[in-house]
C-alpha cells in the first residue's frame, strides 16, 4: 500500500514539467561546478605532486561538488516537496486517501518514499559525474561513499521537513517558503555564538551543516547518522499527527 502511494507520487511528479526542469537545472549547475573543480584540479596538480600527504582527486573534486550540491538542493527541495500534501488538501483528493482502507502512517510513508525516489534519481545522476573520473584516475571510493551517504541523509531530512510543512497548509507556495526558511535556519543556526559556551554547543549540534561536514571528509560518525534519522522520524511523526488532527475535533 505504501509502495502504491509512493509509485503514484513519483509518477505524478514526472508527469509535471516541474520534476524534469528541476532535474535539468540542478544537473546543469552541478555539471558546471564539477567541470570548474576538474579545471581547478588540473592547474593545481603540478604543485601537489611534490607535497607529502597532499589531497587527492576525491578531496579536491568529489567533496567540494557534494558540498555545493547540498546548497543547491537546499534551494530546490522545497519546490519538490511543497505540493506533496498541500495540493491534495487543496484539490480535495485527500479524502480519497482518508476514505480508503489506508492508515495515516501508510499515507505519510508512501508520500515520503515517493519523494525519496525522486531524490534518489537526482543523487544517482549527480554521483555519476565524479564516478566518470574512474575512467582516467583511481578514486577513494570509501570517501566518496561517505559523502554520498551524507548527501542522501541530508536530502532525507530535507524531504521530511518539507513533507511536514506541506501538511500544514493548502498553499504550496506557503509550504515552499516555510520549508526553505526552516532548512536555511537549521543550516546557519550555528553562526550565532561562536564562543563555545553551552548554548552555542547546542546550536552547533542542531545545525544540519555541522553533521554533514564530517561525512564529506569521509568520517562516518554514528551520532551524525542518528541525528539525521531522528530528524526524519520527528518530522514524519509530526506529519502523521497533523493528518490525524484533520479528522479529530478542534
Amino acid at each position: 500500500m505504501i509502495l502504491t502511494i509512493a509509485a503514484r507520487e513519483l509518477r505524478s511528479l514526472f508527469l509535471s514539467p516541474l520534476a524534469w526542469s528541476v532535474l535539468a537545472v540542478v544537473q546543469f549547475i552541478l555539471a558546471y561546478l564539477f567541470l570548474a573543480q576538474v579545471d581547478n584540479f588540473m592547474t593545481l596538480q603540478p604543485q601537489l605532486v611534490g607535497l607529502e600527504g597532499a589531497p587527492g582527486v576525491t578531496d579536491l573534486i568529489a567533496a567540494p561538488l557534494l558540498g555545493d550540491a547540498a546548497i543547491v538542493l537546499l534551494l530546490v527541495t522545497p519546490l519538490i516537496t511543497m505540493r506533496i500534501l498541500s495540493e491534495e488538501r487543496r484539490n480535495g483528493t485527500l479524502s480519497l486517501l482518508f476514505s480508503a482502507p489506508v492508515s495515516m502512517t501508510e499515507i505519510v510513508l508512501g508520500k515520503y518514499l515517493g519523494l525519496l525516489g525522486f531524490f534518489f534519481i537526482l543523487l544517482a545522476m549527480l554521483v555519476a559525474m565524479p564516478l566518470s573520473l574512474l575512467a582516467g584516475t583511481p578514486l577513494d571510493l570509501g570517501k566518496l561513499a561517505a559523502g554520498v551517504l551524507g548527501l542522501g541523509l541530508l536530502l532525507a531530512a530535507f524531504c521530511a521537513a518539507g513533507l511536514y510543512l506541506s501538511s500544514l497548509t493548502e498553499q504550496p507556495t506557503v509550504a515552499a517558503i516555510s520549508t526553505f526558511g526552516l532548512l536555511l535556519l537549521l543550516w546557519i543556526i550555528d553562526w550565532a555564538g561562536k564562543g563555545g559556551d553551552e548554548v552555542s554547543g547546542l546550536l552547533h549540534y542542531l545545525s544540519l551543516l555541522r553533521h554533514y561536514e564530517p561525512l564529506l571528509r569521509g568520517l562516518v560518525h554514528s551520532t551524525d547518522v542518528l541525528y539525521y534519522l531522528l530528524f526524519v522520524i520527528i518530522f514524519l511523526g509530526l506529519s502523521i499527527r497533523r493528518l490525524d488532527a484533520d479528522r479529530l475535533s478542534h
Binding site: M1, T4, L15, S95, F98, S99
Partner: protein, 313 residues
C-alpha cells in the same frame, strides 16, 4: 428488520470549535435501501457523510459498518464503503484508467480482479470511450462519473454519494439515477441532494436534516401518504353553485378557483366517487377530478423554515 443492516449511526454529534454541526443524529441503513439525505445548505449533510466515511471523527456517537466499528477497526470498515465527496477527488494529470487502477490498489482489490473491476466500473459509468483521456481534460459531467466509478470500483457494501448529479446534463442525470437504482438492489446507498424530485425518483427512504438534527425520516411509501392531503380539485364546464357542493356529504369547505374549478376539503372517506356520479347525473360536464398532492417541496419547506424554538417545544 429481516434484511441485513449495513450502517448504524448512533447519536452522532460533531463540533467545529463551539459550533455544533451535527447534533445527535441516529439512523440505520439496510441492504437494498437508497437513503436520500435532504437539507438546506449548511444543515450538516456533508459533515454526517464525512463522519460515516471516516474523514471526520465524530465528537460523540458510534458508527458501525456491516457490524464493524468504524473507530475500532477503520481499515476493515472503510473497505466496505465507497465515497464520492462533494468535490470529486480526482488527479487531473492521470488518465481515467490510470486513476481507477490506482483507486483499486488503494482499496486493496486483489491483483487478478483488478483489471475486470476497473473495466466494469468504467462500463457502468459510461467511461469506456474516454478511458485513455486525461481527467483534467474531461468535462464536468465526465469527471463526476469518474468520481462515481471510483466509489463503486471495489464493490463496497455501502456507497455514499454527496450530491452525485451536480453538473450533469439531463440525460446524464437520468443515467446516473438509473445506475443508483441498479446499485441500490445489491448495496446500501446514501445520497445527499438539493434536488427534491431526485429523491422521489431514486430513493426508497428520505431523511431531512436541519440545523444538524434529523427532523424527518420516512420511507417513500409513507411519504406518499403524507403528501396526499384531504382535498380534491374539481373542474367542470357547467359548474354547480357553491351551496350544492357544500351540501354534499363529507364536504367540509369549498373554495372556488378560477374557470369553474373548486378546491373541496373533505373529512373521512374520499368523496370522489359520489361527486363523479352526481356530476354525470346533473350534467356538470366534468373535466377534472383529482386528489390534491402536497409536494415534497412543501414538506421540506415546512420542516426547514420552522423556528428552532418551535422544534424544541
Amino acid at each position: 428488520m429481516a434484511t441485513e443492516v449495513l450502517i448504524t449511526a448512533e447519536h452522532l454529534t460533531r463540533f467545529f470549535g463551539h459550533t455544533c454541526a451535527v447534533k445527535g443524529v441516529s439512523f440505520r441503513l439496510a441492504k437494498g435501501e437508497v437513503l436520500g439525505f435532504l437539507g438546506p445548505n449548511g444543515a450538516g449533510k456533508t459533515t454526517t457523510m464525512r463522519m460515516l466515511t471516516g474523514n471526520l471523527a465524530p465528537s460523540t456517537g458510534r458508527i458501525t459498518v456491516a457490524g464493524i466499528d468504524l473507530l475500532d477497526a477503520p481499515k476493515q470498515a472503510k473497505a466496505r464503503i465507497g465515497y464520492l465527496p462533494e468535490q470529486p477527488p480526482l488527479y487531473r494529470e492521470l488518465t481515467v484508467q490510470e486513476y481507477l487502477r490506482y483507486c483499486a490498489h488503494l482499496n486493496r482489490v486483489p491483483g487478478r480482479e483488478l483489471g475486470s473491476a476497473v473495466d466494469q466500473a468504467q462500463a457502468r459509468c459510461g467511461l469506456t470511450q474516454v478511458r485513455r483521456r486525461l481527467i483534467g481534460n474531461l468535462s464536468k459531467g465526465f469527471q463526476q462519473r469518474v468520481g462515481i466509478a471510483q466509489a463503486i470500483l471495489h464493490n463496497p457494501a455501502v456507497v455514499i454519494l454527496d450530491e452525485p448529479t451536480v453538473g450533469l446534463d439531463p440525460i446524464q442525470i437520468r443515467e446516473i439515477r438509473a445506475l443508483i437504482r441498479e446499485l441500490g438492489e445489491n448495496h446500501g446507498i446514501i445520497l445527499s441532494t438539493h434536488i427534491l424530485p431526485e429523491v422521489q425518483a431514486t430513493c426508497s427512504r428520505v431523511q431531512i436534516i436541519h440545523r444538524g438534527q434529523l427532523v424527518f425520516s420516512a420511507t417513500l411509501a409513507e411519504l406518499q401518504e403524507q403528501m396526499t392531503t384531504q382535498s380534491l380539485i374539481l373542474g367542470c364546464q357547467a359548474p354547480p353553485d357553491l351551496q350544492t357542493l357544500e351540501a354534499m356529504p363529507g364536504i367540509e369547505r369549498v373554495t372556488p378557483l378560477a374557470a369553474g374549478r373548486f378546491r373541496l376539503a373533505f373529512a373521512g372517506d374520499n368523496p370522489a366517487e359520489a361527486l363523479a356520479a352526481r356530476a354525470a347525473a346533473e350534467g356538470w360536464r366534468l373535466r377534472e377530478l383529482s386528489p390534491e398532492q402536497r409536494s415534497l417541496e412543501q414538506i421540506f419547506v415546512e420542516l426547514t423554515t420552522r423556528e428552532p424554538d418551535a422544534e424544541a417545544a
